[in-house]
């Protein structure tokens, strides 16, 4: 049993689709059913409907896999699976059979060459951190003028035109200013001409620079957080703020954003960037804030001011050596 759904179809097209599905019978190997309310095996997207494309862009990868682009301008679209308007039974059967046989075939995003304007600014993905968090498979290219980053999720690596601090600065631009290309549309130069680095370094920076004060979907603002190890900082030296957060979040007990803020004095904006970065690099443990808190050990006793003063002086002395 397989399920199919659609996004953005006109009322007429939707009716036609449903009746075609009902009539498929034994012409496909599996039985197909039209359903809106379950995890579907195939999704028909009206590619001429830019609002629908924008909405589709914000769906998680699991929903977008096996999307069929339904459009009157087939050549302009670089989807692996396409259907030309109007809907015809033979075409639909062919594409559904293909999905039955190759369910994993890379999902595609609208080509960067001819995207409807709305796909560049999807309504729900508002930060780079969110975009990367949702892109859990395949290639992702972020282009900004002549600067770019390519992330390869399968091989867990990335390449970039930038180095260290300049990459961090690039990733801090608003998400809307990037051109995003996904999957097979990312044309890579021949292997060997690119230098690939461990994706963790990029994921860390994406969280640090590309969070803009917003937690990645799935992380609760009121949740409790800790990290399982210190991050590998990779390309960019961590700030004092980051070191402070590393220390606090490696405590045995998870802490809320509010607790972290009040103990460390670090602004929420930076705490969120840190939590996102930790989540993207896989070192975050998040608990629901509702979950009964384990017996909280007595809070760490406040350090004497003299000692705090000493630490501050050492920090300030060492900050100079890092310039």
């Amino acid at each position: 049993m397989k399920y199919l759904s659609s996004i953005g179809l006109s009322a007429k097209d939707e009716t036609v689709l449903k009746s075609l599905i009902d009539l498929l019978g034994a012409r496909t190997s599996e039985e197909w059913i039209y359903r809106d309310d379950v995890m579907v095996d195939a999704l028909l997207l009206d590619f001429d409907n830019s609002e629908a494309v924008a909405a589709w862009n914000t769906k998680p990868e699991s929903v977008r896999r096996n999307t069929i682009a339904y459009s009157s301008e087939i050549p302009g679209i670089s989807f692996a699976r396409r259907l030309a308007k109007p809907l015809r039974a033979a075409d639909l059967i062919a594409v559904l059979k293909d999905i039955e046989e190759n369910p994993g075939k890379a999902d595609k995003a609208p080509a960067s060459s001819t995207p409807p304007p709305s796909t560049q600014a999807p309504s729900e993905i508002s930060t780079l951190a969110e975009c990367v968090a949702r892109h859990s498979e395949g290639l992702l290219r972020l282009t900004f003028g002549d600067r770019e980053v390519v992330l390869d999720r399968q091989r867990r690596c990335f390449s970039t035109s930038e180095s260290g601090e300049s990459l961090a600065a690039l990733l801090a631009h608003p998400f809307q200013e990037f051109q995003v290309t996904r999957g097979a549309d990312v044309n890579l130069p021949p292997d060997g001409s690119i230098k690939w680095l461990d994706q963790k370094a990029l994921l860390w920076l994406v969280g640090q620079s590309g969070s803009h004060g917003r937690l990645i979907d799935g992380l609760e603002q009121g949740g409790l957080f800790r990290i399982t190890r210190w991050p590998g900082f990779g390309l960019v030296r961590p700030s004092q703020t980051v070191l402070t957060l590393c220390s606090m979040l490696t405590r045995k007990n998870a802490m809320s954003i509010e607790e972290i803020r009040s103990v460390s004095g670090v602004p929420e904006f930076d705490i969120i960037a840190f939590i996102n970065a930790a989540s993207l690099t896989g070192i975050l443990v998040a608990q629901s804030g509702d979950a009964a808190k384990p017996d909280k050990p007595a809070a760490k006793p406040e350090l004497p001011t003299e000692r705090k003063g000493l630490f501050a002086k050492i920090r300030s002395r060492l900050a100079n050596t890092r310039a």
């Binding site: 190890r229 590998g232 030296r237 402070t244 606090m248 490696t250 705090k308 630490f311 050492i314 002395r317």
Partner: protein, 175 residues
């Protein structure tokens, strides 16, 4: 005000002397002598008493940096040098046969001091193949009930040495 010291220990040849030379404001005091054992294949001199360097804070207060000898036969120096120390930096040379066991040896020997203060683990010479993943060091730490930063560093770089001290300070204040 009492003296502030940071102690750097770790495997012979890991770079304790190099690290102190990289960050000290004054020419470091060294007690390196000729190596006469198998270490001679790797380096011609080894520290037999201590390295000593210093940093001056804005109000004139000093932070003293002490490097220990690496070999266990000098453990009497370890005990002398940690007295009154702020915390420990353990450098682990990842070109050696069992870097995780090496880390464990220093954590065992400095256990009392580390329990009172804290430690930062610096992994050096990571540019070789077949060295344990950083996660393996964290796992070994967690088996000891410890959670310390494990940082990949190049001790020839002043900034990396600085990072280890800063991480130590943040650990002492916030962890």
């Amino acid at each position: 005000m009492s003296e502030i010291k940071v102690i750097i220990t770790g495997t012979p040849g890991a770079g304790k002397t190099t690290a102190i030379a990289a960050i000290s404001e004054v020419p470091p005091v060294r007690t390196d002598t000729a190596t006469t054992d198998e270490l001679a294949d790797v380096k011609s001199e080894t520290t037999v008493a201590m390295d000593f360097g210093e940093l001056t804070l804005e109000d004139g207060q000093k932070v003293f940096l002490y490097g220990t000898p690496g070999q266990q036969r000098f453990e009497f120096m370890w005990k002398i040098l940690v007295q009154g120390g702020l915390g420990l930096i353990v450098l682990v040379d990842c070109t050696r046969a069992d870097p995780i066991a090496d880390m464990g040896m220093y954590l065992d020997n400095f256990a009392d001091f580390v329990a009172e203060t804290g430690a930062v683990i610096g992994l050096v010479k990571r540019d070789v193949n077949d060295t344990p993943a950083v996660d393996d060091f964290y796992q070994a730490l967690s088996q000891r009930g410890l959670m310390f930063p494990v940082l990949e560093v190049d001790v020839r770089e002043q900034g990396d040495v600085s990072l280890m001290i800063e991480a130590l300070v943040s650990l002492l204040e916030f962890a």
